[in-house]
């Protein structure tokens, strides 16, 4: 159970930085909400997964691609213009060597698959599904995530998934809202009860960050820079309303993304990501995990 979560966390961290350009970083882990504003939970227990919205998952764990139409697989355009396509992906974690994955990205969403996990975001729904199993692949679990979006214009450059607008993400126990604009991202999550942060067994805490219950996170662009991430290119600062000095500085410039966080969580430290012109991307996360991906 330790391998895949850290793989997904690493990859989602990179995706989030590349795609959204912002997260706050107070004690809880920052402004939640991965790429495209996915959040939420709804644990449906083990087995094949039932209920929920119109997720079109057509493969089991370890399947080839997931729900996202493979529209960009050919990778016809340069990665500085469009990251759509199917990517071979590696991530490292201590003591476990390399974990392999496949990432499929298009304007219709994305899926990220390893041998025992799959996270899918369907932008058409919109909805998201998180399937994972234990270390021995014995207990598959499916979590369906409800997503509502009121779109707003925000040019994400080469990142094909729409992320601008107002988002509401809901699960059995948590509700998160997120507003994404070209120069400002705000987010807030509330949890029923007195939980310290968003988590528990109906939240994919090992995939997405766990923001603190009730805090408001703000990520502000302080100046714009030329970047393949469109409007999101620039220097950003992230904070929460907790009054804590913890913060993150984020820079999206040209083909690189860097974050530097002073936080009491996994985001403390520096993250670097570079997307090469040959469609090979790689970087290092604050925990020391490394990731590399190459578009087929």
């Amino acid at each position: 159970m330790h391998r895949i979560p850290s793989f997904f966390r690493t990859t989602m961290l990179v995706l989030w930085v590349a795609g959204c350009g912002g997260r706050s970083a107070d004690a809880g882990a920052g402004g939640a909400l991965g790429t495209g504003g996915v959040t939420g939970s709804i644990g449906t227990g083990t087995g094949s997964g039932t209920g929920g919205s119109n997720v079109k998952l057509d493969t089991g764990l370890g399947g080839s691609s997931g729900a996202v139409p493979d529209t960009g697989t050919a990778g016809g355009s340069g990665c500085d213009k469009d990251l759509s396509g199917t990517w071979d992906l590696f991530a490292s974690s201590l003591g476990t060597g390399i974990v392999r994955g496949t990432l499929v990205v298009s304007k219709d969403g994305f899926s990220l698959t390893t041998s025992s996990s799959q996270l899918t975001y369907d932008a058409q729904g919109p909805s998201a599904t998180w399937k994972h199993s234990d270390y021995y692949n014995e207990f598959p679990t499916t979590r369906l995530i409800s997503v509502q979006n009121t779109p707003a214009a925000a040019n994400t450059g080469s990142f094909p998934v729409v992320i601008g607008g107002h988002w509401v993400l809901q699960s059995n126990r948590e509700t998160c809202t997120l507003d994404v604009a070209a120069d400002k991202v705000t987010g807030n999550c509330t949890v029923n009860g007195s939980d310290y942060d968003v988590g528990g067994d109906d939240w994919p805490w090992d995939v997405l960050p766990s923001p603190e219950n009730g805090l408001h996170y703000t990520v502000l662009r302080t100046d714009a820079l030329a970047s393949q991430f469109g409007d999101f290119g620039g220097n950003w600062t992230a904070r929460s309303d907790s009054g804590s000095p913890q913060n993150c500085k984020i820079k999206l410039e040209s083909n690189t993304a860097t974050t530097s966080c002073n936080a009491n969580n996994n985001f403390n430290g520096d993250l670097h990501l570079t997307i090469g012109t040959d469609c090979v991307a790689s970087g290092v996360t604050p925990s020391g995990s490394e990731v590399s991906a190459r578009r087929r």
């Binding site: 330790h2 080839s64 071979d88 992906l89 590696f90 490292s92 974690s93 201590l94 003591g95 476990t96 060597g97 390399i98 974990v99 392999r100 994955g101 496949t102 698959t113 390893t114 041998s115 670097h272 570079t274 997307i275 090469g276 040959d278 090979v280 991307a281 790689s282 970087g283 290092v284 925990s287 020391g288 995990s289 490394e290 990731v291 590399s292 190459r294 087929r296």
Partner: protein
Amino acid sequence: MSARRGWRWLVVLGCLLLAIRPSAYGRTPQALKLEIATGQKPVSRERTTPSVAMLVLNAMPEARRQLLADSLAKLAAAVDKKKNPLFVSLDDGEERSVVHELIAQTMPAFSAAASLAAGSWPSREGDVQVRAVYRCAAKRQCVSLDGTPGNDEGERRARFLAWPLGYAVFLAVEGRAELDKVAEALRAPGSFQIGLVLTSAELHSLRASPALLPLQRNAKHLVKTMPKSRPPLLETLANLANAGTGKDRLAWLRLPPDTILVVPRLGALATSDQFVADVRSRLRAVGAKVEWLASPK
């Protein structure tokens, strides 16, 4: 045949043998290649083993081995202190910071070593398998690691899947003393690009050094005393403790004795031009005369 004529033939034969001797990687028909096979096969996970830990330790200069030994000693002291029934722990910050430091220190090298030691590299779906061979099987796509990469998509994907070789730099250095000097220069701290630097001998056996003994002794002690709730760290420590024992997992990789393999970090595959520039500048600094046998750029 007269004796004089016989000598002449012997000289010619000797010259021919010298010309084709496998003095450097990539010079002979037996040069290392990547063989690409298609068709579904089960994918196994790359494991960290004592062989992998041996590669990591061999890729460390002595000063770095000493640093790791010191970190392990600090961790051992923290763990022992906690085991004392008279000690009341208020927070485990000290232990956590040592662990964090250890992780940051070793993870890139462990990743590169584990992937290198695998010896074959399948895609996640198992539909493509790449392995290192000296002679490709008939009708299989074959990628030579000599020179710089080509533009063929199959080759480029194979190089990515088999990144510890496909994105590596291979150098030939003349003379044992020069070999060690060049390897040390390449291992100097400060690179965010270089993952492993290994001479051909270091692929197969543990290099002895003064720091090795306390390092492995502390690793062994920690395996015995640390709480079992940290399985990845414990596994890493056990592998460090047992490095140099067991089967040679790189028996398939036989490089000429004058060769140095420089593997990039996994997190630096997108910046292979910087990786090559880093290798080049370190070689320049030491004034080494080397031959570049293979390079990703």
